[in-house]
Amino acid sequence: MVKFQKPVNLNGQELRDELRAQGIAISDKRSAISVDENGDLFLEINQKDESKAAGIVANHNGTTMPPEPTLADKLLSVGVNIDDLKSALGLS
C-alpha cells in the first residue's frame, strides 16, 4: 500500500482507470483504493510506481454525482408534497 494525499474529488473507479492508462497496475479489489480514518488515500500499487502515481493522484478530479432525488424531492420539483399526494389519494 502506498500512501497519498486524498484528492478533493475522488472517484475510485476513475482513478483506477487513470492509473491503468499510464501503465500502473492496480487490481479491481475494493481494498486496492482505500481511505483510512485520517483521510489519507492508500493505493495497492507497486512501490516503483509511486512517483508516477503521485502526479496522477494530484491531478485527479473525479466525478461526484449527486444522489438520486428522493420521491419527496421529485414531488416538490412539481410543486407537490407527500401530504398533498396522500390527500389526493384519499389516504389522509
Binding site: 472517484n11 475494493r30 481494498s31 481511505v35 480514518e37 485520517n38 466525478t63 454525482m65 438520486e68 428522493t70
Partner: protein, 263 residues
C-alpha cells in the same frame, strides 16, 4: 487379704484386726470415701459433672451450657445461621429476607450479612455514532468515522484521535459482540459494501453487500459479529459503493458498537 480397695486404694478393715478397732477402721474408710467424693458434692438443678483434671474423681458441677457446646438457644428462628464474632465466639446470624444471598462484609459483627443478589451486571462496551454525514467516494474502500459516543464505559473510543476505531482497553481482553449499522443516502446504482477490519486487516466473513432497491435513503446495512479480542486490538468498519459518484453515509441511523461478553 487386701488392705485397700481395688480401685481407689481406700483402707479397709482386716479380718485379723481386733474387733475393738473395727469402728475406727470403718470410720477411716468412710472418711476416705467422703474425701474422694468431695468433688461430687453440691451442684444445682440441671448442672452436669465435668472433669477438672485427669485425676480420678476430679469433678466439678458446671452449667449444662458450658463453653464447649453450642446450645439450641443460640438460634431463634427458621433460617438462622451460627456464625462467629471472634475466635471461639459463636454468634447468631439472623435469617435474611426472600431472595437475599449471604455476603461477606468485614464491617459487620459476624463478618457476614444477607444482601440483595446483584441483578444488574456492570456494562462494559461502547456505542458510537457519526456527528455528521460522511461522503464516500465512488469505488473507494473508506473507513467510517465516529465523531460522537452514545456511551463508552472503558475508553474504547476517542472522539479526537483515530475516531474510526473501537480499541480494546487494558484489562478487557475477551469476547465481544460487535454491532453496526450503515445508512446510505438514496441511490439505486450498484452495490453497497460494508466490512469489518481488525488491526487494519479485513476479517474474513465480515463482508456485507446490498443492492439498493430504493432511492429513498432508507437502505441500512447492519451486522452483528463476535470476536475474541486482545488488549489494544482495534476494529473499524469500512464501506464502499459503486454508484458512480460520491455517496453519503447518513449520520442518522448509522452506529458502531461493542459489547463485552466475558473473558
Amino acid at each position: 487379704m487386701a488392705t485397700t480397695t481395688t480401685n481407689y486404694g481406700w483402707d479397709i478393715p482386716q479380718s485379723t484386726d481386733l474387733v475393738k478397732d473395727g469402728a475406727t477402721a470403718i470410720a477411716t474408710l468412710g472418711q476416705d470415701i467422703d474425701t474422694s467424693f468431695v468433688g461430687l458434692k453440691g451442684g444445682t438443678t440441671g448442672q452436669v459433672l465435668s472433669k477438672t483434671s485427669n485425676t480420678d474423681l476430679a469433678f466439678t458441677w458446671v452449667a449444662q451450657d458450658d463453653s464447649n457446646a453450642i446450645q439450641n438457644a443460640i438460634v431463634d428462628a427458621k433460617g438462622d445461621l451460627i456464625s462467629a464474632t471472634a475466635n471461639d465466639t459463636p454468634a447468631r446470624l439472623a435469617v435474611g429476607t426472600d431472595g437475599q444471598v449471604l455476603t461477606v462484609d468485614s464491617t459487620t459483627a459476624t463478618g457476614l450479612k444477607w444482601a440483595a443478589a446483584s441483578s444488574t451486571p456492570t456494562f462494559v462496551g461502547c456505542q458510537l455514532y457519526m456527528s455528521s454525514n460522511q461522503s464516500i467516494a465512488n469505488s473507494t474502500n473508506t473507513t467510517l468515522l465516529w465523531g460522537a459516543e452514545y456511551f463508552d464505559s472503558n475508553g474504547f473510543h476517542s472522539t479526537t484521535t483515530n475516531t474510526g476505531r473501537i480499541t480494546i482497553p487494558t484489562g478487557k481482553a475477551g469476547y465481544y459482540l460487535l454491532t453496526g449499522a450503515v445508512r446510505w443516502s438514496g441511490n439505486t446504482s450498484q452495490r453497497r459494501n460494508m466490512s469489518l477490519s481488525k488491526n487494519g486487516t479485513y476479517i474474513a466473513g465480515t463482508d456485507w453487500m446490498e443492492n439498493p432497491s430504493t432511492n429513498e435513503g432508507y437502505l441500512i446495512q447492519t451486522f452483528a459479529f463476535m470476536v475474541n479480542a486482545a488488549v489494544a486490538d482495534y476494529y473499524v468498519i469500512n464501506v464502499s459503493q459503486g454508484s458512480g459518484g460520491a455517496l453519503d453515509v447518513i449520520a442518522d441511523s448509522s452506529y458502531f458498537g461493542a459489547i463485552y461478553l466475558g473473558a
